[in-house]
Amino acid sequence: MINAIKLWGRYARQAVRSQLQYRASFIMRVFGQLVLHALEAVVILALFDRFGSIRGWHLPEVLLFYGIAHISFAVAEGTARGFDIFSRLVKSGDFDILLLRPRSTALQVAVSDFQLLRIGRLAQGAAVLAWGMLTVNVAWHWTHLLILLSALTGATCMFYALFVFQATASFWTVESLEVMNMFTYGGVQTTQYPLEIYQKWFQRFFIFVIPLGCVTYLPVVALLGREDAIFHSPVWLQSAAPVMGVLFLLASLYLWEFGVRHYRSTGS
């Protein structure tokens, strides 16, 4: 376990060093990301300025959703980069090299890259979350913070799992898997608003198929002390829902091993 962390540290340091090599260019790109995400937040402000509320949810509450969604996604994006670019490893046959090393392939892919660039989205998400926390009508208690933390963890695990699923698909097909972007980037866009505002079938999809709703909507509902208008779930379930993120991640890793088995039977 410690060795795995040490290994990740080594890879991450290399990655960061090479990314910072062109420092000015890097700063420029982070700045660009900051501006892009800031504009996204501006859009939300503009919408609330004109419309006031959205199906009974007000701006500070929506900011909580937004912050959680973007912080988790940024962390997942930055750390799952190895899976994000995995398909080229399969295409070139270099995946064999990973199989020849006495470590789990998932571990090797997981630690192999790190994108510092995503710090732009992370910073923006954190700022929005902070603002939301300050303006929302909640008497903050450590239990609230616990729920918040578990939501962040669960959501990060879930987004990470989506990247793993995307990478796993390349064991079966050489076509580019841009469809998966629907769930990763689409997922972020969806969860930045309360799930309640969407139509029934959409809500069901994001609770039962890709349980992003479990790791964002339900915990925040619990945190705010609101009624769960979709499923009328009890509070304990809402608070415990983020565990779905971890389970989802485990499922993705299981499917990964399945994919590796397929690769080893059919050859490259």
């Binding site: 060795n3 040490k6 290994l7 080594r10 890879y11 290399q14 090479s18 046959g93 270099d94 064999d96 090299i97 199989l99 020849l100 090393r101 006495p102 470590r103 789990s104 090797q108 088995r261 080893r264 039977s265 059919t266 050859g267």
Partner: protein, 327 residues
Amino acid sequence: MPQIMVEKLIKTFQVAERSTGFMGAVKGLVHRKYRTVNALDGIDFSLDQGELVGLIGPNGAGKSTTVKILSGIMVPDSGRVEVMGRIPWKERIESVRHIGVVFGQRTQLWWDLPVIESYQLLKDIYRIPDRQYKNHLDRSVELLDLKSLLDVPVRQLSLGQRMKCDLAAVLLHSPKILYLDEPTIGLDAVSKLAIRDIIGRINREQGVTVVLTTHDMDDIETLCRRVIVINQGKIFMDGTLQQLRSLVTTERRLIIDLEDSAVSLSDPDAELIKQEGHRVWLRFDPAKITVPELIERIAKAHPVRDLFVENPPIEEIIARLYGGAEQ
């Protein structure tokens, strides 16, 4: 107890068939046709520890597939394989810990990093203890003359330099078996000699078993006492280099440097291959006439300055072997 045991190994692939042209592309949308390729059709052999075996055969014969299965990357359709008492594909991580694989045309090193940083990553990946890492690294640096290369990013190395670094990399974790896939391909003569020298040394001095896949016959002649010829998924021959030669032909060559270039040399039992100036190449069958007899006969007829007795070049042997096999 053999270190590597292979029995009735069978492996087939499904290859998608692509039809050409416009209608083919449309059809391809709906229905994909597959063709079965028998990569390995019943392979049997075993290796003892410390052997240095050459694996040769034409392209597509099944050499890489065999190595992939032995190293545990690929799962065969049927057959039994045991490497150091384990089934490679069933216990991948444990099996792979004790082997090293070098691909001639691919590197396992990280492209943008200096060589030494690749080695440090490997140290962590293989969990090599500090002292062992230092010893092996120092030894490889000395044997392969790597000192000036350690801080160079891998992408800036020449092919020969990169191969040396790859070899050093694969030795860091003390593998018991080495699979080398075309290690000298594309290298200049000096590098080839250096690589061959290292391989021979590792095999002799440390008893590391080496399976060498190669098309380079000098590799075979210099290093391999034993040769396995694979063709069309079957083992064609498994024996010494001499046995390989005699499978094709028993003929030998006599090369004579004459005193007088104007002489036209002929002998009833020897066939003239070519003559260039003072040097004459003759082909003969030692079953019909022994080497001493032939030499004596020729020396009596013409003044001889120097002579050599040789085997036919291995390329010719192999070419005839493959050609014969296809018939």
